[in-house]
Symmetry: C2
């Protein structure tokens, strides 16, 4: 506020009057202060004022895709916690586009949200530093912030994948494929790391055509499977890097004469009723959302240390049948 006052050539009291929309300031001065505020990227922490004026608090949630069951479940959990704290929820899908993420985050900030829960699409969140310093509590979820030390709630992606791949190895598989999401996505890279570690731990080689990273569109997954499932070195088992990949893999594998074992990251509805029932490494989507939102409100209430907090939740292997098929 001192910087704003200096830049606008007015006293602190005037800045405060403008910020609090009080009367007694000329339109010209208001414009000058506003320009200084804009130039300096200054934003007031609204929480205290919200309590006074009883305007409802709000939280902005940026995720990858509202229609993806994993994020739908995560966002419902964030909403429940926000509601328990009397706050409204802004939501937006980034569709893995860093510019869209930034656009949404800044639009939420311009709307003076009290806090943000962000599933990062970008790998550089320094654009948020000034907002966080200005008092917008921010918790990253599912993936850590890029180039910024901030609160984050994650699943143990590498550990969960290691366990899933080791499970396939324990059932006799030696040639195991991995289809992951785009390399730049933290969770995708971590799961790929888990795959390589599990293979290495078992002393198994990994051929380059056995693993692939990219968009999870059905056509891409189908093409990747075609490659892995042909030739003399074809895989006898597949680890699917997320629920979108698993759903397409289930479709493709159900049409094959030779059974291929399958373990998928993320649980999904009715997985246990498919033939064979699908073995998964389940993460706790509501638990991640809940933890992130709770951490956010602890920050807003000032009852957590200033140090960024990192919370990692375990993933859980659920054997159901598809991951216990022996090599053919």
């Amino acid at each position: 506020m001192k910087d704003v006052a200096a830049r606008a050539g007015v006293g602190l009291k005037t800045v405060s009057r403008v910020v609090n929309e009080e009367a007694g300031v000329t339109p010209d001065t208001v414009a000058r202060v506003q320009a200084a505020i804009d130039a300096l990227g200054f934003r007031r922490n609204d929480s205290a004022r919200l309590l006074r004026t009883r305007r409802t608090a709000s939280v902005g949630l940026v995720l990858e895709d509202l229609a993806d069951p994993f994020y739908a479940s995560l966002s419902r959990a964030v909403e429940d916690v926000a509601r328990a704290h009397g706050a409204l929820l802004f939501t937006g899908s980034s569709a893995e586009d860093p510019r869209r993420e930034k656009e949404l985050v800044l639009a939420f900030c311009a709307r003076r949200v009290d806090g943000l829960v962000v599933v990062p699409a970008s790998d550089d969140h320094r654009y948020l530093s000034s907002e966080i310093e200005a008092g917008v509590a921010t918790v990253f979820v599912d993936r850590p912030a890029g180039a910024l030390d901030a609160d984050v709630v994650l699943t143990d992606n590498a550990g969960g994948t290691r366990e899933g791949v080791a499970h396939l190895i324990a059932h006799g598989h030696r040639r195991i494929g991995f289809i992951g999401d785009q390399q730049g996505i933290h969770t995708a890279a971590e799961r790929l790391r888990g795959y390589h570690e599990a293979m290495e731990d078992a002393g198994l080689p990994v051929r380059p055509e056995w693993w692939t990273m990219g968009p999870t569109a059905p056509e891409r997954v189908r093409a990747a499977l075609d490659v892995m499932l042909s030739g003399p070195e074809r895989v006898t088992a597949l680890f699917a890097g997320n629920n979108r990949v698993t759903v397409t893999a289930v479709r493709v594998l159900s049409g094959l004469s030779r059974p291929v074992a399958l373990v998928g990251f993320d649980d999904f509805e009715l997985a246990d009723l498919l033939n064979p029932p699908v073995t998964v490494v389940a993460q706790d989507a509501p638990g991640i959302g809940r933890s992130a939102a709770q951490l956010l409100f602890r920050r807003l209430d000032g009852i957590v240390s200033d140090e960024p907090t990192r919370i990692e939740l375990p993933a859980r292997l659920i054997p159901r049948g598809s991951g216990e098929i022996p090599p053919s």
Copy 2:
């Protein structure tokens, strides 16, 4: 604004100054005008001002449950249209609680949203009349407003159900069960009507123990199925009133030795890979969301008549196997 001015004992110009947060009004007068505004339930239509100040526009979306795949898909479609119009999205789940719906709607209005898309939980929306008159464009979706003539985008629920039940009748069934959502929900009541009409059209009697309405929790659906599937007059086919009911019905029926035909309202992921694949009456969740949001923005742009618009989208029968099982 005249009413506010009269009640506050000030001129129209002063009211306008306070509403537009201009300088030159004493704090005392601001408080008096504010009190008059609160007392009269007056709210300004912000759209024009938003364009002037370039603050991002926003839309409030109230639905039943963010985590339900039908609503997840609908909300993603609303978001896409809002984004195309440069607007942000507030979302909230009513969980079928009329008080919670009203609370969310009024909180969004207090946050000065430009428009609302509402899946009604309440059967009385007169509380919204003053907001709509004050310029908050409102489109109801999935279910019509209660006691209020307003824009609405719906699926032909009765027609879709009639077609689904007629399909079971065409495959030889005479004793057909129906499990629906709570009676007070418009879509649930409409689907029940479609069931009764299809049975009547075919000259078939309906026994009271063959149909039931209530919460879609798995325990309730299981208990209802237990009743329908026992005794000499047990049903040989079931029409499931929505995707939550279908998912539980699939689980229960898969554990029975005697096959029971099934048609479910709402399509769902992997329905075609279950054994048997599930025949559904599909509604177009993205289409409903898109139509509602487009209608909302046409209203905001003032390029639609003042008369409330009603859009009804057809449902589509997708035969896959479970609905073609003959009576056992």
